[in-house]
């Protein structure tokens, strides 16, 4: 209670005390200064606590009516220096980046247009209205090229037996908008974006992040950019289930096709175990065989589901994306496309 005034400095909402109805409330309490009688009262001021309590209740009631505060950009705070923040961005990620490139990477097209519009409103001459400011569209395109190429080559080296659709599905998962925005926000990109709207829309954040990758490519070369993608984008595959990313529509048909190509017999699902078949929680444990060889086994609460799941497991075993596979080579520092291509060629020659 006693610290109410101090709270007002810290908390934006409590400052309502000073400029809303509370002020009028306090005004009512103070009598007009026509006649000043000074009386000194000693002892406990018993009116203080109920008075402050009334104020707090009033603030709370107003808060309920108004709802939560809208989000504010970090740059609206006093302790904010864009140049310093920009300066710290490169060293934080261990990259030596040119400040002008970086500034371009963080500038969205909408920001440039907004600035020009503002100048036009000021009735400046037309040649001064046009800003010589770069936006991130070119850098983002470069960054996207680097990212997609590297992720593709990395996945191809890691899963040599997986078909192209599977590789594409994993690639799409890693480079989806939500994922890139998540990564960007955890690298401190969020506060530095120059955009006309706030909160910043996710597509803008994604483009800025790709622009940062493009900036690394522009300033430090392709190899550093690929390392950047490796460390921050591909690393998100750790602990994820690769098989869940690719939704095969008809796994049993695909398995039959694969086996036919390999010159093996038709896949044959068989119930290995089952329990509680006459209850509401049954479990069927199904194995898929081909030429009396177990390809994969899985379970389900109905027979068709279990068969489909077993076919998926059999496919995962064939593609070497099964559970007991080697972990991703994230720590072996196979970080350039050239090295990955070497590995892919080596594996192809082996097989």
């Amino acid at each position: 209670m006693a610290g109410l005034g101090r709270n007002c400095i810290l908390c934006a909402r409590k400052s309502l005390l000073f400029h809303r109805s509370v002020v009028s409330l306090t005004r009512l309490q103070i009598p007009p200064a026509t006649e000043v009688v000074v009386t000194q009262v000693r002892g406990t001021k018993r009116w203080v606590r109920p008075y402050l309590q009334t104020l707090v209740n009033r603030i709370n009631r107003e808060n309920e009516l108004l709802g939560p505060l809208p989000p504010q950009p970090r740059s609206s705070k006093i302790n904010w220096n864009y140049e310093s923040e920009l300066h710290a961005f490169g060293p934080r990620l261990g990259e030596k980046l040119n400040l002008s490139t970086l500034r371009a990477a963080f500038t969205d097209r909408s920001y440039v247009e907004e600035e020009e519009e503002r100048r036009r409103e000021l009735d400046l001459p037309l040649e001064d209205v046009k800003l010589d400011m770069q936006d991130n569209s070119q850098l983002a395109e470069q960054g996207w090229q680097v990212t997609t190429n590297y992720v593709h080559s990395f996945l191809r080296a890691e899963f040599p037996l997986l078909p192209d659709e599977g590789i594409q599905a994993i690639h799409d998962y890693v480079t989806q908008e939500d994922m890139l925005v998540w990564i960007a926000n955890h690298l401190g990109v969020k506060d530095l974006i120059r955009c006309s709207t706030f909160p910043i829309p996710p597509p803008v954040t994604k483009q800025v992040f790709l622009g940062v990758i493009g900036a690394v490519n522009h300033d430090q070369g392709l190899q550093r950019a690929e390392t950047f993608v490796h460390d921050f984008v591909v690393a998100q595959l750790v602990g994820k289930d690769v098989n869940a990313m690719w939704d095969i529509p008809n796994p049993m048909g695909m398995l039959a096709e694969m086996l036919q190509k390999a010159g093996k017999g038709e896949p044959e699902p068989r119930v290995i175990n089952q329990s509680g078949t006459n209850t509401v929680t049954p479990v069927y444990f199904v194995g898929v065989y081909s030429d009396k060889e177990l390809l994969g086994e899985a379970s389900g609460d109905t027979m068709p589901l279990a068969v489909e799941e077993a076919a998926r497991v059999a496919l995962a075993n064939m593609f070497k994306t099964h559970e007991g596979r080697k972990p991703l080579a994230l720590d072996t520092r196979l970080k350039t496309t050239a090295k990955l291509a070497d590995k892919t060629n080596y594996l192809e020659n082996q097989s």
Binding site: D241, A244, T281, F285, S299
Partner: protein, 178 residues
């Protein structure tokens, strides 16, 4: 790997186990049944995890007690009316309902907490060998017996009887003296 959902479903799926109570000592049998009811035989067991199995017990009318426990052991029985709590000997109790002795033994053997009645619902007791078909279809495995039930003399075949080791073979005209 199967999907995580299916994996989880499989790991915590309930097994239906068959247990033959024929000539098994009731307290030891109850201990063994409790282990499976609670799921203590599983490596994923945790006291807060509901991972117990169903147990189907048959032949409960042929359950055994040692020494003079049938007379000595008493069960508290309440008929439902006021002041009618009586102590009934195991023999009488068993005669009243042949599944009750096993049920009581298992109930007293289970941990004394709120899960006890839930666990008891997974115990299916049948006095003889007849199991309903809907339960028979669920069965997966057999619980190993506490002790092998001894064989009666009339269950031995003639060959086994003939090949049984003997101290001496009496002559055909042998007549034991009085």
């Amino acid at each position: 790997m199967a999907s995580r959902v299916q994996q989880h479903w499989l790991t915590f799926s309930r097994m239906w186990l068959l247990c033959d109570a024929r000539w098994q000592p009731a307290p030891e049998l109850a201990k063994r049944i409790c282990k499976y009811l609670e799921g203590r035989h599983k490596p994923v067991y945790h006291p807060l995890t509901d991972c117990g199995d169903h147990v189907v017990v048959i032949n409960t009318k042929e359950v055994a007690f040692d020494k003079n426990q049938w007379e000595k052991k008493l069960y508290a029985v309440n008929t439902g009316y006021k002041n009618t709590m009586i102590a009934m000997s195991a023999k009488d109790f068993h005669r009243m309902d042949p599944t009750k002795v096993v049920e009581r033994e298992v109930y007293s053997e289970l941990p004394k907490n709120l899960q006890r009645k839930n666990l008891m619902t997974r115990l299916h007791l049948f006095p003889d060998e007849n199991i309903p078909d809907n339960i028979k279809q669920n069965l997966v495995d057999i619980i190993p017996p506490v002790m092998e039930p001894p064989k009666r003399l009339d269950e031995f075949t003639e060959e086994e009887k003939a090949s049984w080791p003997r101290f001496f073979i009496p002559p055909a005209d042998y007549k034991p003296s009085d």
